[in-house]
Point group: C2
């Protein structure tokens, strides 16, 4: 039996239940092993994008007639073969996702059940294009892609001063109307269409959570990390502080970056600077190394504005006594003294405690999508994609995870069907640690993670080209 999909995902509360489930041979049991109360939620499925009956406008994904098989790959079958078999029906892709909820599990539960269907809906719009690998994306849907390109020149050929003259067709340009196709048309690759579909699916998922909030009693918000294997490429979309890495021949390839108050400080400060009403008169967009005290007005104190990565001194004014938009360091950093992640789904109702200041305008539901051309590489049995919520990465570095997984897999029987599952299980145990008299401890007597921990370990070798 080939383990294409393997996963272990647990919280402290659920650890014992999970461990029991992990012994079962059916992966779908493992995959469904989250209770609805767990703030970490997960999903892994093989999905099929089918032609829509009509090419009409956007429809509710719950009404979209897509066939999908909620199972891992049949035993021993390679992905390339699978996809070819599906092509006549539509386009199949493999899907894994982790959602880390906060202020309740509602948003995480909903997103784990629906995000993939929003992705399908957006892929349906470009299905005909994706199924024809020789075709560039047409600029206008339904039309042949044009090829009226000027020969690209390696330099711009005009000086910057000359370039200040209005472009043909631009407002105020002396040469109205524009000669048609004066400028090169941008060529849009299929890859960009899949990225756009994932990006817009996150947006639509977020809108749906807002709409359904009242009806389904969805509370709180969640981070979202998803991976798709589609047409030979691996797409990883991330909104939040979960993380995905590829381990290839023992080397780490980061497949996501985290979105936190610190990593997005300048975006948030810029927004607050431009729309100061969002701060409700109670916060300042400037950053200080600690809270400013009234007695420090008139003194010169370190600060950072949205334009700065470095620090400088400014004379403290009364306005600087307001609470800073971004405050705290590392895992304690918060936006508006409230939230520690800056991208994700939900949180539409979230406000600063006892105030009417909403947090949502500062949060983004848009993922960063990275692409890995999976079938361009030949992968060994120990090459894997590791996806984990912050409970894992808070206590283990990329390098520690890579070493742990590589070492664990090397010591397994290569024919053991459960090796990836066990490696995920092993990672979780390493991150949680062992209960000692002074609390949960991991290697080198460091503190273990007290957070929920979810991990996928996905072997990459089944993506190898079938030759």
């Amino acid at each position: 039996m080939g383990h294409w999909l393997c996963r272990a995902a647990v919280s402290l509360r659920e650890l014992m239940v999970q461990l029991a489930e992990l012994q079962l041979p059916q992966l779908r049991v493992i995959n469904a092993g989250k209770s609805h109360l767990n703030e970490d939620q997960a999903c892994c499925e093989v999905m099929l994008v089918r032609q829509r009956p009509s090419a009409g406008g956007n429809s509710d994904p719950s009404r979209t007639p897509t066939i999908r098989r909620r199972s891992s790959l049949p035993n021993g079958e390679g992905l390339g073969l699978k996809e070819n078999a599906d092509t006549e029906l539509g386009l199949s892709f493999h899907y894994w996702a982790l959602f880390d909820g906060h202020a309740g599990s509602g948003a995480a539960v909903v997103a784990s059940k629906l995000l993939q269907h929003h992705i399908i809906e957006h892929l349906q719009e470009v299905l005909d294009i994706l199924r024809n690998p020789d075709l560039l994306a047409p600029i206008v849907q339904g039309e042949e892609p044009t090829n009226h390109h000027l020969t690209p020149t390696p330099h711009r050929g005009i000086t910057r001063a000359a370039s200040l003259r209005g472009a043909a067709g631009a407002p105020g340009s002396p040469s109205q109307p524009p000669p048609s196709r004066f400028f090169t048309e941008k060529k849009v690759q299929h890859e960009s269409l899949v990225m756009g579909a994932i990006e817009n699916a996150f947006k639509q998922m977020d809108t749906q959570i807002e709409k359904d909030k009242a009806v389904f009693n969805v509370s709180g918000g969640c981070t979202a990390l998803c991976a798709l294997f589609l047409l030979g490429k691996l797409y990883v979309g991330n909104a939040g502080d979960s993380r995905a890495i590829i381990i290839r021949a023992g080397e780490v390839l980061p497949m996501s970056s985290e979105f936190t108050p610190e990593s997005e400080r300048q975006r948030l400060q810029f927004l607050a600077y431009m729309q100061p009403h969002l701060l409700g008169g109670e916060f300042t967009h400037l950053e200080f190394p600690r809270r400013v005290q009234r007695k420090e007005v008139g003194k010169r104190m370190l600060y950072r504005d949205f334009t700065m990565s470095g620090w400088a001194y400014k004379t403290i004014e009364d306005d600087d006594l307001k609470f800073p938009l971004i405050y705290g360091e590392g895992k304690k950093a918060r936006v508006l003294a409230t939230i520690g992640v800056t991208r994700g789904l939900g949180d539409h109702e979230l406000r600063v405690h006892d105030s009417n200041i909403f947090i949502k305008p500062f949060l983004s539901c848009c993922p960063e999508v990275r692409v890995y051309p999976l079938t361009q590489y030949e992968h060994g049995p120990d090459d894997v994609l590791v996806m984990g919520t912050d409970g894992l990465w808070d206590v283990l570095s990329n390098q520690e995870v890579a070493e742990a997984v590589t070492c664990f897999l090397a010591n397994c029987d290569p024919d053991d069907k459960h090796r990836y599952t066990m490696a995920a299980q092993d990672l979780i145990m390493r991150a949680r640690g062992i209960l000692k008299d002074r609390g949960w401890r991991i290697a080198n007597d460091r503190l273990g993670s007290g957070d929920d921990i979810s991990v996928f370990i996905v072997p990459l070798m089944y993506g190898n080209r079938q030759t």
Copy 2:
């Protein structure tokens, strides 16, 4: 004679003059080799930051009493020794800068003469701190740096749900007033103070250009790329499309990234989305692969919004017929159909042709600053910093430049005092090419650069620690 500073910088017009100058043994002649009409301007100096007579507020840098030596390093002297000698007087640093002007040379000329003095002024504010390497930057100037840090924990210790409770001292927090120093204070390193000084110096330079515009008839704008060697570290600040790379043992280390309509698309679209009045009703913040035509209203066309890296289709509306904020590809990409760089100094008066739409709100004068710990490495005689305006990089890749420089230097007599100058000269010739019957051609019959080309090649081995 030790060549610490070497440079060749020419435009097509000035090439012959420059070549003559490059034969001269005095480097300062080479460094001053730009006419005021050249849109590329440059500067290289050894600067001294002296204690200010009084610790008062900001003063005009032209009135700031700083001693500076406008010369390259004396023969055969290493940098470490130089700095030690200067320490009692103040703090010395080496400075190189390139400015690529557009719509006139005014801004570039002014910036090449004054930016370093703004940097000095900002460094003066933190001089006492920088001169004491054992001291952290105090949060309030003049006070001892406090050490009331909580023991840092490797995990956040509270779940995200719990974290949603207001932080102590935050607006609406149940526990007002805050216990003093409840949160960790951020530790600010000296390096961050230098970065902050460079960032704010660019801002001040830009403000000064705006103020002096009327008086000194300063026209247009310019990009700015500067490098400082200070206290053992190399700081590279960049605002525009020039580029700096380090070549170490033949390997390329990028020291800057370019700011263009394409690289800053999402920032600009986000700004326009939030402040649509900046578009004057004539532009749309959405991106399309080409101009939308009236007959396409109602059809579905590829677009990108500020949240997207990928592309998707949208139904074209009347509003989409407006000219796109970002338009064109590569070197032809423009903001508001006007300008091809998105960071730099000046351009305060620049408007869309025949309109009242100003470009400046979309431009940033803030540099990205990167730091290289020069003295932590032992550098060989062929390890160099290469700084160049886009005229160089448009036709030669990082790798081509690294190969050309490494190969050129390897073939020089190691004792030849002019080898770095000649290598810079060689780079310029490679980028410009040779006049053939079909125009200026470089290697492989590609087109040469028709733009101004300026290059610094700075050997790094004089930064080696004196042991």
